[in-house]
């Protein structure tokens, strides 16, 4: 392996993407998932993994100071778009904020983690939908669910563990 690659891999390994645990135990999604989520139901369920999205976390996101056009630019709205539990296009989608990592939110589709990444303008893109982005994690999750159709996410996310080599996203 050459130096550029070794350096790159070491760097990436040092900042592994946060992995959440699918909140399987919450039961069927509540009809007004959103309001219940705000009241803390989801937070209580995810207590081990969940840390409220703080102003300090927000400040670390490049999108908080967008370079681009402010008009209509998707800004990070963690409370509106990061905590959710709903059915969309036949899939259950769930999101919960995380403390660390750029994505700042763990997203699940049918209990499996959907890789969600962020752009410099604060918008979100997912591993299902890699060539466009959405204002919120929730919108990215909805788009991924719609795109999945009858398919199910792989058990191991493709971006899940670069640094672990063999295991990443490979079907068992």
């Amino acid at each position: 392996m050459n130096d550029a690659t070794r350096w790159w891999r070491t760097y990436r390994a040092a900042r592994a993407r946060p992995r959440g645990r699918a909140p399987e135990s919450v039961g069927p999604p509540p009809r007004t998932a959103w309001h219940l989520a705000r009241r803390g139901l989801l937070r209580a369920a995810f207590v081990s993994a969940t840390v409220a999205f703080t102003a300090a976390a927000l400040a670390r996101i490049p999108g908080a100071t967008p370079y681009g056009e402010p008009a209509g630019a998707p800004g990070p709205e963690p409370d509106e778009g990061a905590t959710f539990d709903e059915m969309h296009a036949g899939h259950r989608i769930q999101g919960l904020p995380l403390r660390a990592g750029r994505a700042e939110v763990a997203v699940f589709v049918d209990g499996r983690q959907l890789d969600v990444m962020r752009r410099a303008d604060g918008s979100y893109l997912s591993s299902v939908d890699h060539y466009e982005s959405y204002a919120t994690a929730r919108e990215a999750a909805r788009a991924a669910a719609a795109e999945l159709g009858a398919a199910r996410l792989a058990a191991v996310p493709v971006h899940g563990s670069h640094q672990e080599g063999a295991g990443r996203g490979v079907h068992a």
Binding site: M1, N2, D3, A4, T5, W7, W8, R9, Y11, R12, R15, I61, P62, G63, P66, Y67, G68, E69, A71, G72, A73, P74, R102, A103, D115, M117, R118, R119, A120, D121, G122, S123, L125, S127, V128, D129, H130, Y131, E132, S133, E147, L148, G149, A150, A151, R152, L153, A154, A155, P157, V158, H159, H162, R168, G169, V170, H171
Partner: protein, 290 residues
């Protein structure tokens, strides 16, 4: 002697067959899946910190140029006469194009699960299953033109507009760069909605749909034909702007710049090959586009 990359529409049926067979052989040997993994590994978006070399970055073009060269070398180990053809999507802009015929890329995905059921890469033929993918499905998927909400491929006028920009790339050197040839071609937008969000390179990924839209887009062999055309457009841009810097930035962003350490300047090596953009500005000694 330099070899030639041809427009896929000009390939003879023997050339089509040779290309397909070499791709299938790389799949059989496992080499193909390594290319899928590499593309996934190096897809670092600009909301992440750390170095990004493949997307949302000035080295989008040289990184994919080297990626294509590596793939082409692998193909040529199988059959020394094979080169990567390109897909000019401004001309072959319909699912009826011979690009999607049974002896080449195969056709659209069927309705329902979007599974490609025709051509050499159809799952049922036993030679193309997706070992590395975003979903559990092991078959190739496509949704050409997204019939549910139709979207068109970029046009020749769109290409001309991108080529007209005399500057290779501009600060902040990421997906929010509002001008510069690189992002005009890569196609990231900010603050738009609906189909207008998709431009150029990104829009083609959307138009093909299915696997091509996701992180494991290399699983669709048309990936290479698409990127060969993107690569040829970089040539056309250079020819149109002989006095412009062929690559920017020429020097790394200084300490304190938000992009410090996050992009490859002209002479900085790109992983995983340790090749700098400067080494990839002129490929005429290796291949040419016909």
């Amino acid at each position: 002697m330099a070899y030639t990359r041809k427009n896929q529409r000009d390939l003879t049926s023997a050339e089509r067959k040779a290309f397909v067979n070499a791709v299938l052989e790389l799949k059989r040997s496992g080499a193909y899946d390594e290319f899928v993994r590499t593309h996934i590994e190096f897809y670092v978006p600009d909301g992440d910190d750390g170095l990004r070399v493949a997307h949302m970055t000035p080295s989008f073009l040289p990184w994919h140029r080297q990626f294509l060269l590596e793939f082409e070398r692998a193909l040529q180990k199988v059959n020394s006469r094979v080169t990567v053809p390109y897909w000019d999507w401004t001309r072959d802009s319909s699912p009826a194009s011979s690009l999607w015929s049974d002896d080449f890329m195969g056709g659209n995905g069927r309705r329902g699960d979007l599974q490609v059921t025709t051509g050499p890469f159809a799952y049922a033929h036993g030679r193309w299953n997706l070992a590395v993918d975003v979903t559990e499905a092991r078959f190739l998927t496509r949704d050409l033109g997204r019939p549910k909400e139709p979207i068109a491929l970029p046009t020749a006028a769109d290409v001309s507009r991108a080529l007209a920009d005399p500057v290779y790339d501009t600060a902040p050197w990421d997906s929010t760069s509002r001008s510069g040839f690189r992002n005009r071609l890569e196609g990231w937008t900010t603050g738009l909605s609906g189909s207008a969000r998709f431009r150029m390179h990104n829009r083609v990924h959307r138009w093909v749909g299915g696997v091509m839209l996701g992180g494991a887009s290399v699983n669709d062999p048309v990936f290479w034909l698409h990127h060969a055309y993107i690569d040829s457009l970089w040539d056309r841009w250079q020819a149109a702007h002989p006095r412009s810097a062929r690559y920017l930035p020429g020097t790394p962003p200084p300490d304190g710049d938000p992009q410090h350490g996050r992009i490859a300047a002209l002479h900085e090596p790109m992983p995983p090959w340790n090749v700098a953009p400067a080494a990839l500005l002129d490929h005429t000694g290796i291949y040419r586009y016909a």
